[in-house]
């Protein structure tokens, strides 16, 4: 574990919830942090049901870095949303970080997300009226940390992603790669055990994409984050320890 990694680990947010144990042992030897059993997800297009996920079983061990691949409409993002607690399964069990998400209310899931999931989006989703540091601070507004502690944690997270010299910059003053780094800093600032990344390199050039993937690998190895990444990019998927493929709602 690097020095900055230890720094972030020591500055616990005070948020509760399950944390990955992160012993540094091989991922496959660890208990699953994500368990899906007989999961179905059906949307309705008008009155017509569209089955997106079909009886899906999946165990993801703590500390693994997994890539989800598959053609458009195969159910990758839907699966990611179920794991991240953004959506509910139509049936089956979704157990993540020790919580059965199907049994949580909407507000309980929201609170659970803030403590257990870090989000990395394709389109960054930074607030343009806030500086990089303030964007990173956003999730901490929901904690009981003081303003000073929030600022310190945000600065540490930005240091980890290599943007300590861009803290006071607004999103418009950052490159795409830098914006995605800020998004990653925002995702790890509460020290969640799981990071979900939906096409994190989709809007980036090759060099920036490689930098971001290096960072994700670092977060997985040094900070022991479990990472689930949806991607269309085979080069990105290669950086994951496990690649899973979805087709028509089933893992193949």
């Amino acid at each position: 574990m690097s020095e900055t990694a230890r720094e972030l680990d020591e500055e616990k947010t005070g948020t509760e919830g399950a944390k990955a144990s992160g012993s540094g042992a091989p991922a496959s030897a660890k208990p699953p942090v994500i368990e899906l059993s007989k999961v179905r997800k059906t949307y309705f297009r008008g009155k017509e049901p569209v089955e997106v996920l079909r009886d899906l079983d999946l165990d993801i061990p703590t500390g693994s870095f997994e890539a989800l691949m598959g053609p458009s409409g195969s159910g990758k993002s839907t699966l990611l949303n179920l794991i991240a607690g953004l959506d509910r399964a139509s049936s089956g069990m979704v157990k993540v970080a020790g919580s059965d998400l199907s049994k949580l209310s909407e507000s309980a899931r929201t609170k659970w997300r803030s403590q257990n999931i870090g989000f990395i989006f394709q389109t960054f989703n930074m607030l343009p009226v806030l500086t990089a540091q303030e964007n990173v601070e956003l999730p901490l507004l929901l904690t009981k940390l003081s303003a000073v502690e929030r600022r310190q944690r945000a600065q540490t997270a930005l240091k980890i992603v290599g943007l300590e010299d861009r803290m006071d910059h607004y999103p418009r003053e950052l490159s795409g790669g830098q914006e995605q780094r800020v998004t990653i800093a925002r995702a790890i600032v509460t020290d969640p055990p799981i990071l979900v990344a939906d096409e994190p390199t989709g809007d980036l050039d090759r060099d920036s994409a490689e930098d971001i993937l290096d960072l994700l690998v670092k977060l997985n190895r040094e900070f022991e984050k479990t990472i689930i990444m949806v991607t269309h990019d085979p080069a990105a998927a290669e950086r994951a320890s496990i690649v899973r493929r979805l087709n028509k709602g089933v893992l193949v």
Binding site: S77, N81, A84, L86, D87, S107, T110, K111, R113, S114, Q115, F119, F121, T123, N125, L127, P128, V129, L130, E134, E137, L138, P139, L141, L142, A147, R150, R186
Partner: protein, 391 residues
Amino acid sequence: MRAISLGVRNVLRNRFRTSLTILGVAVAILAFVLLRTVLSAWTIAADFAAKDRVVTRHKVSFIMTLPGKYVDDVAETPGVKTALLSSWFGAKDPNHPNEFFGTIAVDPQKFFEVYDEVVVPEDQKAAFFAERRGIIIGSAVAKKLGYKVGQRLTLTGTIYPGNWDFIVSGIYDTTRQSVDKSSMFFHYDYLNEWTKQKRPRSADQVGWIISRIEKGRRPADVAKAIDTKFDDSDIQTLSQDERTFNTSFLGMISAVLKAVDVVSIVILAIMMLILGNTIAMGVRERTHEYGMLRAIGFLPKHLVIFVVGEAATVGLLGGIVGLLISYPIVEQGLGRFLEENMGAFFPYFRIDSKTPPIALTLSILLGVCAAIIPAYRASQLDVAASLRKIG
């Protein structure tokens, strides 16, 4: 950074649109302040009314006259210090046919005893007493129409037809707002002589009687005593303290005042729609961001705070800008113009002290109201769906 500051910072996001919205709110607040000032200016004569004056008129209607001998009877009523007869003349200056000013026939000596707030230089007052055709003119109308002391002035009578020659004896000012500075006062005898010749049946009649009452007397008691005196007469009277008398005039235009009141509320409703539209546009554009905020743990109530905070800030800024432009426009520009040109109706056209806090409170409240629907929609976003939505 605090959660509430996020809503406030969003105000600066689209500066051009926010500026236009703030300007729209500011114009609505200006219109609101203007209309409230019209209302308060209209009622201010009642507010400024002297507490020691009682006005006596015909019991049936203000336009019906009283016998001139009633003046002495009123003067003899216990509690009355001085009784002043007054008759509405109604005249136009043929050189300024579109200008309105009040012309009232009075007893010159008693006029200054009853209206001690009217100030005229002693030499001009003496000239007014001495000259049967003398007339004293309010400083506002004198300034506007260019009347000078000593000049001859011919007015055309509207109720008493013909050309009436006057000599401007003095220009009066006032120490209180209870008398406007846009009227003219002249000798009742001058009018009554004409009436005796041309309309003998209307001679020795007066429009109304104003009594100055003794210190410590209650106006209501004196008014009752006056009316009791004429209870058994053919022509009965209605006496009221000056404030009630002035307010009864407002009753005649109550429909107009009500309409002005309603218009001021309609203007605020329009302001709310302008603001609501802007906020709704902002919420639509930020669907993706709100989805992100919900994803990372913000609750629907937080989004409501962001949206409402932004709307309240825009409302407040619009209110402040509206008030800042209201003062020079209403008090310096329009106010002066109305006081000089329509002093009979608007003797004191100034923004009432209660109006700014009301306007600011309303601008914030209406901002909050305008944000209710957009805030509700933001709070009900489907998180997964809103993250898929771009733009």
